[in-house]
């Protein structure tokens, strides 16, 4: 971090233990992380990793057993009920199942947080309409949620979440019940809102593509432990923890990657990293077509996520310095990282 950024959340050594009929289960173990103002922060992990538990500690829907969760200058766990409710008005949340009230119109749903905040009827209506405009659903204001599609429901939920001008938006699998196209639209909406309203967004998901598409930083959570936190581009290209590798490079552990099996001793070998490279283009065959040069693939470990390629290849470059430069240029032009060069 070069510049001083304001911390929205600071979690330090958070531990959560569920207790049911005497049986204890540690859902979060010593979780420490910070979320900064204005960023889109992703939390990704396998099912049961503790993502929902983690996000629910952020507005104290879940009490924690150890550690602290700070929201700006408040330690959430120390707040009295009354103050907690006040602070929750600035921590909006959207859900996988939308959780709209079926018996209330779209407009009434959106106005609910304002009603809780004690805003007058006329102002509630005005603000709710404004929020519906933000999500592009003014014309549905008098509809009931049952008449809306999943994507529209989530838009209403987003409008409702924004109504009371929150400082942060928590999204628990907000796109998991939606098809890819609608997911894309909702993510774009979240991104727009993040930019135009400078709203900090925290996204819980099990989908790599969601993180890849809109998150600035990501935390990988595995078995209740934060395995890795960092810039998305960094974590996805260069996963360090086993959990991150499993997510980013599934089906193969680092240990199993082919030992360098060069065809001739002393050849130049590079590791190229795909970081959201268009998976539709066959890179290696394009290389051959464009340059007439061939590389020897020693090991490949790539994965297509949402039409983009991730992972790495270890290739042996052709002989001759000029040829090698051509190949490296080709990769560079395509935004493919050349991470490690060995001779």
């Amino acid at each position: 971090m070069a510049e001083e950024k304001t911390k929205v959340y600071e979690l330090s050594h958070v531990t959560k233990i569920y207790e049911n009929e005497g049986k204890k289960f540690t859902a979060l173990k010593d979780v420490s992380l910070s979320v900064y103002e204005g960023e889109i922060f992703g939390i990704i992990g396998m099912s049961g990793a503790g993502k929902s538990t983690l996000v629910r500690t952020l507005n104290r829907l879940e009490e924690i057993n150890e550690g602290t969760v700070s929201f700006y200058n408040d330690i959430i766990g120390d707040l009295k009920q009354k103050d907690l409710r006040k602070i929750r008005q600035s921590i909006a949340m959207i859900f996988q199942s939308f959780n709209l009230l079926n018996q209330k119109t779209v407009l009434e749903n959106v106005a609910l947080p304002l009603k809780i905040a004690g805003v007058s009827r006329a102002k509630r209506r005005e603000k709710a309409l404004e929020m519906l405009q933000v999500v592009g659903l003014e014309d549905k204001k008098d509809s009931y949620p049952a008449r809306l599609s999943g994507g529209q429901k989530q838009r209403v939920a987003i409008a409702r979440a924004l109504a009371a001008d929150p400082k942060v938006l928590l999204c628990d699998e907000a796109t998991s019940a939606l098809d890819p196209k609608i997911t894309e639209e909702i993510l774009e909406l979240l991104q727009t809102i993040n930019k135009t309203r400078n709203l900090t967004v925290i996204i819980i998901t099990h989908e790599m593509s969601v993180v890849e598409k809109i998150c600035d930083r990501v935390a990988i959570i595995d078995n209740g432990v934060v395995a890795e936190v960092g810039e998305v581009s960094e974590v996805f290209t260069n996963p360090k923890s086993d959990a991150a590798k499993r997510l980013v490079l599934p089906g193969q552990d680092e240990k199993n990657i082919n030992p360098y099996d060069c065809s001739n001793q002393g050849a130049k070998v590079v590791r190229i990293v795909f970081d959201g490279f268009s998976a539709k283009e066959p890179v290696i065959s394009t290389l051959v077509e464009d340059t007439g040069l061939k590389v020897n693939i020693l090991s490949a470990n790539t994965k297509s996520v949402g039409g983009k390629g991730y992972g790495q290849m270890i290739v042996e470059l052709p002989k001759g310095e000029k040829e090698q430069e051509t190949v490296l240029d080709f990769f560079e032009q395509r935004g493919i990282q050349i991470l490690e060069v060995s001779a």
């Binding site: 507005n59 829907l61 009920q81 907690l84 409710r85 006040k86 602070i87 929750r88 008005q89 921590i91 909006a92 949340m93 859900f95 199942s97 959780n99 009230l101 079926n102 018996q103 209330k104 609910l112 947080p113 009603k115 809780i116 905040a117 009931y144 949620p145 049952a146 009371a164 928590l170």
Partner: protein, 217 residues
């Protein structure tokens, strides 16, 4: 059918409607809050309270397991205390109300339990307090189901009101007993039975219709 019997039947219909309406009304005045208490004090709910939940639940279960006819007899002294008499239409409203309260409370509880927990979660995340959640989230969402349960409860009270005729209550039940059983006038018996069936059906239809009308999902 003799004119005086016809007159008696018409009076009986009127009495039955009175008994049912007032008993159901009073039963809801007490039973609805009791049902809400049962719901909010249950495990993991807004005002989780084992003791209150257990005590209220226990009393309600006793009330529900007692056969209504026995409750009628048991309540005679109480009815006298409240209305000054233990026979007649007004008097039978007391045991009918008492008998319906536990039924109403359980029905309300089960309607409230149908509200998805996600709605309550959303409400809490918005910073709503427990009372706000009950009045502005849970009860409105449960309204269609409450109305449906209401129709079933009113129909049950109507059936009970016919039983109240046995121990000196008025209404169609008393007529069926007097003419149909003691005097063995079959025609009167069948007419009263038919009227009771029609009334139950009307109540049921009205309840379903109303519930459908207000249901938005």
């Amino acid at each position: 059918m003799d004119a005086y019997i016809k007159e008696a039947i018409i009076k009986g219909i009127w009495e039955t409607i009175q008994m049912t309406t007032f008993s159901a009304l009073f039963a809801y005045v007490v039973g609805l809050p009791l049902g809400v208490i049962l719901y909010v004090t249950a495990k993991d709910h807004l005002f989780e309270n084992k003791a209150v939940n257990a005590v209220v639940g226990f009393v309600i279960n006793i009330g529900r397991s007692l056969p209504f006819l026995i409750l009628l007899v048991l309540l005679i002294p109480f009815t006298r205390l409240v209305v000054g008499s233990s026979i007649g239409t007004t008097a039978s409203i007391v045991p009918l109300t008492v008998g319906a309260i536990p039924i109403v409370a359980r029905m309300v509880e089960s309607s409230l339990n149908e509200v998805p927990s996600g709605i309550i979660e959303a409400a809490r995340s918005m910073g709503a307090g427990p009372l706000f959640i009950i009045f502005h989230f849970i009860l409105p969402e449960a309204t269609p189901s409450l109305l449906l349960g209401g129709a079933i409860n009113v129909a049950t009270v109507l059936g009970y009101s016919a039983m109240a005729g046995v121990i000196g209550g008025g209404g169609l039940g008393a007529i069926a007993l007097q003419y149909g059983y003691y005097r063995y006038e079959k025609q009167v018996l069948w007419v009263t039975v038919a009227l009771l069936v029609i009334m139950v059906m009307l109540i049921q239809e009205a309840g379903v219709g109303l519930s459908k009308k207000v249901r938005r999902a």
